[in-house]
């Protein structure tokens, strides 16, 4: 379970973070959140699908690693995960963005702070990257994390608008993934959405131009290209049965 606390260089001065990826460190996950600026790097290796966030119901984009809860088909035989590109949402682990209210002359101001999940299996006092330098300064690793968190924060601010633009021209459509297990049982995984290719083809020049100017057009084609990864992922599932 998660135990999120505000990171500080006194209580957490000796903590280290294991940055190796693998099932032992919580990477037995079937998907990770990704953002449009990452699509180009993700699409070469994983399918990018959309779904409604289980809590908010708002659209999000996922890099798909498996088809069942906790199934990561990209883990190697040693249960390690070696991705050529690690999504920001995974790089940030075990850190999170928190909000803090600070009073400036009695006026409340919201500021972003770094939280850490103390129950993450990545936390160690022996192995991994130091968070703080010996005398309390930020390590390069923590500076990198701060950049990652900042980038994620920016992405979170704009992701709804990205989907709203797609929806406004009816570019999303629901789809499901069907596969047969070795025992013959047919499985259907539902709740996914992707780009409606026909709707894309029917867009007017003006609509296309707008998407292009917003930077959405590239993201759209990356999602379409990434669909080719679904059969590869299914092959892996088949091979593991």
């Amino acid at each position: 379970m998660a135990n999120h606390v505000l990171l500080d260089n006194i209580s957490h001065k000796d903590l280290k973070v294991i940055t190796t990826r693998g099932a032992n460190w919580g990477d037995n996950i079937s998907c990770a959140t990704v953002f449009p600026s990452e699509f180009a790097k993700v699409q070469a290796n994983q399918p990018i699908v959309f779904r409604k966030h289980p809590q908010t119901g708002q659209f999000e984009a996922l890099a798909l690693f498996g088809f069942e809860n906790g199934e990561n088909l990209l883990l190697n035989e040693q249960a390690e995960l070696q991705l050529s590109y690690l999504p920001l949402s995974m790089q940030r682990q075990p850190f999170l963005i928190g909000q803090q209210t600070q009073y400036n002359n009695g006026i409340p101001e919201q500021s972003l702070v770094v939280h850490i999940d103390l129950d993450s299996p990545r936390i160690s006092t022996r192995d991994g990257e130091a968070i703080f330098l010996e005398h309390g300064g930020n390590s390069d690793y923590l500076n990198h994390i701060a950049q990652v968190l900042n980038a994620l924060h920016q992405e979170h601010q704009t992701i709804n608008q990205f989907f709203e633009r797609l929806l406004s021209v009816d570019l999303l459509e629901a789809f499901s993934i069907e596969y047969a297990q070795k025992n013959g049982e047919k499985v259907t995984v539902t709740g996914f959405y992707t780009i409606n290719q026909q709707a894309l083809n029917n867009l007017t020049a003006e609509q296309l131009k707008q998407l292009q100017q917003q930077g959405d057009l590239q993201a759209i084609y990356m999602v379409l290209a990434s669909m080719e990864q679904i059969p590869h992922l299914l092959d892996k599932k088949w091979a593991k049965q």
């Binding site: 929806l167 459509e173 629901a174």
Partner: protein, 513 residues
């Protein structure tokens, strides 16, 4: 014949009916050959703002007009309505109630399950036995969850809404997105051509507004159809006695109070009280017959109801609004190039919330056969009239059904049972339904307002069972009943409450797909 193509539609009246007309017509230019739409609204006349309950049809209507469900819910104080509940309609004593849910009985497309329920009638009410939605209503559940797409749900649903806010939203949408011209000015004169067709409406500030087709949404005055053309109302107070209402808005004391999933209609000695739960308040009202009660009696009954349902309400802060109406509908609904939509066409008590759905049905009718040329109008008008008459008569019969089966003893309820107050066709049907249950053949039009299912819910809710031996249940039927119970169980586990879902939509909205 000279140029008589229909290129411009002029709508008179800026209430819900007017703006729904503008929205539905303007959003479907392919059905009108791109007719231009102008809506004229008088600054002097306040809209009455009735119709806080819709039917499930409103989902398609909003979708067609192009309003997102999120925006509608966020801006109109709207909530989800899954049917009606009738409290105390059967008899004076006891706290009995029954539901008329929006969902059809289980297996309705295949067979009539009602006769099989009779054997079980003492164990489970009809609506609980055949419509899982009834359980959702019992527990203030929403008909959907936050992952459902806009306008889709687990159970069939309509809305409760703030009519004033709804008209505002429609107005904004129509004028900014659908190119509807909006003129705020008093209409002083109606100009006709040599054939008696309306050629323009003379406004105080904007001169003559010409048009080819005029839609009278001016409310009960029926400024065009009645005041100009003299088309009278066929009055119905011999059948449905209610002709007065007193309405009040009661804010919730606890802003997170559970929200009713149904319109609650509670019987009173000379009428009934509606209770509609919006996000921020109750909309309440007592509708009654002036033959049997004074406005003081009505106010007192309403006041007692509030004191009982929300005891700490400070009633001195409430504004009680009195409404007077003549129940009835027009002799004609479309005359020359003018048709009535909304209360100008007719008005009866809000039981079963037929006001807005009649607006939708009328407009859909008009749009399905839009007169692109004046020459088509006489035939279309004749058909439109026939269709409207049929619908009004069926509605009146169905509303009457709610009263005639009651065992309540006050003079008002007794008078409702007098044979000369009951329409002939309803009498015939009631005689028939002593021996068989209402079914598809009893209502054989493609677009019935109330289906046989509705009649079943009311008849069996009122404990009016036919006299025939209970049928033994084949296993397929047992399965239908148990599937319904399973569905109810799942719904209760998985669906949020109305309040939870509405809070969620306020914060996150709901996705269009």
């Amino acid at each position: 014949m000279q140029h008589k193509e229909v290129k411009k539609v002029v709508i008179l009246g800026g209430g819900t009916a007017g703006w729904l007309s503008a929205g539905l017509i303007a959003a479907q230019p392919h059905l009108t050959h791109n007719a231009q739409i102008t809506l004229i609204e008088s600054p002097d006349i306040a809209t009455i703002g009735v119709g806080e309950g819709t039917w499930p049809t409103m989902r398609q209507t909003l979708k067609t007009i192009g309003i997102s469900e999120s925006e509608f819910i966020q801006r109109c104080d709207a909530s989800f309505k899954q049917g009606s509940r009738f409290d105390g309609w059967c008899e004076d004593e006891g706290n009995t109630h029954y539901y008329h849910p929006f969902s059809l009985p289980v297996a309705y497309q295949q067979l009539n399950i009602a006769p099989y329920w009779f054997a079980n009638k003492d164990a489970v009410s009809f609506s609980h036995a055949v419509a899982s939605q009834t359980y959702l209503c019992d527990h203030h559940k929403a008909p959907k969850n936050h992952l459902h797409s806009a306008y889709q749900g687990e159970a069939n649903y309509g809305y409760h809404l703030d009519a004033g806010k709804f008209a505002m939203l429609l107005q904004q949408h129509c004028t900014t997105k659908l190119n509807v011209e909006h003129i705020v000015s008093h209409v002083e004169r109606i100009n006709s051509d040599e054939d008696g067709y309306i050629s323009s409406l003379q406004t105080r500030d904007h001169g003559a507004i010409t048009g080819d087709l005029f839609i009278d949404c001016s409310g009960t005055h029926a400024k065009l159809l009645h005041q100009h053309y003299g088309i009278e109302l066929i009055e119905q107070q011999d059948v449905l006695f209610n002709d007065r209402a007193v309405a009040v808005q009661v804010p919730y004391l606890n802003p997170q109070q559970e929200i009713l999933s149904y319109t609650k209609a509670t019987a009173q000695d000379a009428g009934w009280i509606w209770d509609i739960g919006l996000q921020s308040r109750h909309g309440l009202g007592m509708v009654y017959s002036s033959r049997f009660a004074s406005s003081e009696d009505a106010k007192q009954a309403l006041s007692q109801y509030i004191a009982k349902s929300q005891p700490d309400t400070n009633q001195s802060e409430l504004t009680f609004r009195e409404i007077s109406f003549t129940p009835g509908f027009r002799r004609r609904f479309w005359y020359k190039n003018c048709l009535a939509i909304g209360m100008s066409a007719g008005f009866i008590e809000p039981l079963e919330a037929s006001a807005l759905v009649m607006v939708e049905l009328g407009l859909n009718n008009l749009l399905a056969n839009f007169p692109t040329h004046r020459a088509a109008m006489p035939t279309l008008a004749k058909r439109f009239d026939e269709q409207c008459h049929y619908r009004w008569q069926r509605i009146i019969e169905f509303l009457k059904l709610h009263y005639v089966l009651s065992k309540r003893t006050s003079p008002y309820w007794q008078a409702h049972k007098e044979a000369n107050s009951i329409p002939e066709q309803l009498q015939e049907n009631l005689a028939l339904w002593q021996y068989q249950s209402p079914w598809l053949n009893d209502f054989d039009r493609a677009q019935e307002v109330f289906s046989a299912a509705s009649y079943q819910y009311v008849l069996y809710g009122m404990k009016q069972l036919p006299q025939f031996p209970a049928l033994t249940m084949p296993s397929a039927i047992v399965e239908h009943f148990s599937a319904n119970q399973q569905q109810a169980k799942r719904g209760l586990q998985q669906l949020p409450t109305n309040r939870e879902l509405l809070n969620h939509i306020q914060q996150f909205g709901i996705q269009p797909i």
